[in-house]
Symmetry: C3
């Protein structure tokens, strides 16, 4: 542990208020799996930069409110103290708080945001309990579930507006018109970092650079895998021919960055073998993102970090030397006769 | 136990036919978690009142047929006798039986209803088995799954008509036109009780009052939480600005009533703390209802009691002092190399 | 074991290349639950017949590529050797490989097919791990998930075309016009066998006959249940009035054939009681197929073998004398107060 972290930790032990700040900063950091207060602080700085640039301050305010509400809800529900202190009850809330002002507006939006952030903590506890059965983490599923439910719900409420949600339409094959003619070095550079920035729904290259630094502060491997994942995802979708404006804004890479960090540097030990496995995961992540774009077209929903969650679960659930249930007779089915085998037909 | 119940139980012990009637009545009662024959009888009386008033007798006939078919199927599948006797194999069937004649018609509708009710028992056994892993009940998920599958299926069959299902459309933001100008005391009174009546798909205030009495007969707390849940849900959706005709018909409150009973009086002990938790659940339930209305718009499905199931599972799954899987290395992944760690890239 | 199988097995022991061929043939056979190389070979011959007749050779090539890629991926991921050798890592891949060229085209289609087939193995491992909790097999869920994700994804990529996917539309009630006037013996004969052929997405009666023989070679009961399931499904959908062109092409029966084999001859011992249970499953399977046709109309997806997976899981999960979680107080909820019960409100 570096001297700065050490002295910060000493200060934090003595002051309840600073401990609360520390917990929340770690919660921000956990969006990319880093229970590190400095990472979280840099994430908030990156968000501030992006939202000030785009004049969408409500996104920054929402993120902070969501983070604090979700963390406090964890405390009120008697959450495991160790998990609370490393920020596991904040990272879904900060994403809810960034997402709602991005897509919604109206007089009751902030009430929606507070309830949604608190709900993300309940869903986190529920999801974590279910997936613990197979030794897998909840990831950002709670954020995505809350995001999808509350955005869909907003359509039915007069006092929540939905300016950020497009009109419903049937999925259609992407046309030539949606392709750039020139893929420049500047475009690729922007995309590389916007893939990171869009995890917090920010469309800003500088924010992405700040996020990369924030990762580097906590884990060299996390930063490396984030950038490799970002690059591989971009190359893949350009080869396949995805809408190049969406690609350039980082929408096709945000989930891949998370998949690469999760598989490459968090849940497995970095190795050549794991690098290949993580990049396989990145390929699948861009396809799942495209699939969600199609599936959600009729109901106007954004994919969020859903592709990351789906693929990372898929790629974490397989276990070494695992023996599946075979294609043979199962005993004890409800339809079996009570005492003995029935006669064969 | 009151003297009436006691002597009824004595009579029931001696007569197989009455025992079967008792099992079915308890099955009706279990729709609101009361394994109580008198509650079930009052539910049937409430349904009779509502369907006679609206001249939709087929809904009442369907409810009874569905109840009996589902219960008998439970017996044929060698279901746990104790669970069978308290009505756990009937409550999904009665809802299937009330729903199909509400939405469907045509010469093969009754065959559909019989198969659907029997299917609800199989799905109950399957769901109960899966959710037992986390100590949570199946709730009315089996009804909702069967309802959604068979209603969607009906579109593809010439001899099942779909008069109760609207045309598909993309979700759209609710407009000013869908709001009442005057919310009167009469409107609020009707809504309070129709939120109960709509659990059995009945749009009738008197039926709702009979249902409230039916709950009171079995559990004071169940009746209290049902009405509090109904009131809080109504206040919430009026504040948010939902379609006030739908609100007045009880569509926005039916799932909230069930969430309030389940969280407040069935699966947790009533307390101030649980009251707050249950009302939090009620808030989320109305949002989930609105979300399902939007999500199901393109495929013409009703939300049923789905929002109750989703939210009650969400709010029951978190366990006290539960330690989630942390964001750290997991051993035994399929991608790890066979013998030793690979070289770091 | 017959002498032919015995001598084949002896030869296979000595030659690694033949062992690999054997594993892949068994993988083909496992699509209908038969870990039998001759069955798999006959399946491939049936596919060859159908694709040569229809001049869709790419479907046959795709099937072989998908089978091999999925099997090799299983080996690379250190899968359980016994499961690998009986073909459990190939049967989803062969279906992915047959499906993609049926629905997709374009320069990147084959890259998509390779990645999709490899993904089916990862999803198989993940699904098998999850469903092992309840003693149930993964079935063809991995194929369906991969199929749905990659087909939906294809809409967003310029270099993958979607000629086999129709335009999105809202589900509509089937009209009189979609009904044949004459159901002939020839129509019924074709349907009986096309229900088998369509499992591999082939619309050809002779292929269906070859598939029936392929089953007979491995298991008399499997062949019997396949044909009974096919017949019952056809009779049911004609009685309900489904689109008779789709019925005649085997689309309404393919999942029912699999349900009948699985419930009647694989996971339960054949008996009169199980015959009734399996036919109940067949009835529900045709309804689920119709439901998926409706639900997928807006997003242009085919139902695949999804109805089989859903229904077979439903009908395998109920266990004998199983006691579900009762409707009573659960201890240890996150909302309970930390030390003692709160005061009652």
């Amino acid at each position: 542990m570096d001297p700065l972290t050490e002295s910060w930790d000493r200060v934090v032990q003595r002051h309840a208020t600073l401990r609360f700040v520390d917990t929340n900063l770690k919660g921000a950091g956990q969006v990319m799996f880093q229970g590190n207060a400095l990472t979280g602080l840099l994430f908030l700085i990156g968000i501030a930069w992006g939202t000030v640039s785009a004049r969408t301050i409500s996104v920054m305010v929402g993120a902070v409110v969501g983070l604090v509400v979700a963390t406090v809800t964890g405390g009120l529900l008697n959450a495991d103290t160790t998990s609370l202190r490393v920020g596991l009850f904040g990272y879904n809330g900060i994403l809810v708080g960034a997402a709602f002002p991005t897509f919604l507006a109206g007089p009751m939006m902030w009430a929606f945001l507070v309830v949604g952030s608190a709900t993300s903590t309940v869903v986190f506890l529920a999801t974590a309990n279910v997936f613990k059965t197979w030794g897998v983490a909840a990831l950002t599923f709670p954020f995505n579930l809350v995001n999808w439910i509350f955005l869909l719900g907003a359509f039915q409420f007069l006092r929540i507006e939905t300016p950020g949600l497009g009109a419903g339409q049937f999925p259609q094959h992407v046309g030539d018109a949606s392709m750039h003619t020139h893929i420049t070095v500047g475009y690729l550079w922007d995309t590389l970092f916007r893939n990171l920035a869009q995890i917090f729904l920010i469309d800003n290259t500088v924010t992405g650079v700040i996020f990369a630094i924030a990762l580097l502060v906590a884990s060299r491997w996390a930063a490396v895998f984030a950038l490799i994942g970002s690059g591989v995802a971009t190359a893949t979708v350009l080869a396949l021919g995805a809408n190049s404006v969406d690609v350039g804004n980082g929408l096709y890479g945000l989930s891949s960055v998370l998949t690469a960090i999760a598989l490459g540097s968090v849940f497995y030990q970095p190795s050549w073998r794991i690098l290949v496995y993580a990049m396989f995961g990145v390929l699948v992540t861009v396809v799942v993102h495209a699939a969600l774009v199609s599936a959600f077209a009729p109901i106007s929903l954004p994919a969020g970090t859903g592709p990351f969650v789906i693929v990372t679960w898929m790629f974490l659930l397989p276990k070494h030397k695992f023996v599946p249930v075979q294609h043979g007779v199962i005993r004890g089915g409800a339809a079996e006769s009570r005492h003995s085998k029935g006669g064969t037909p």
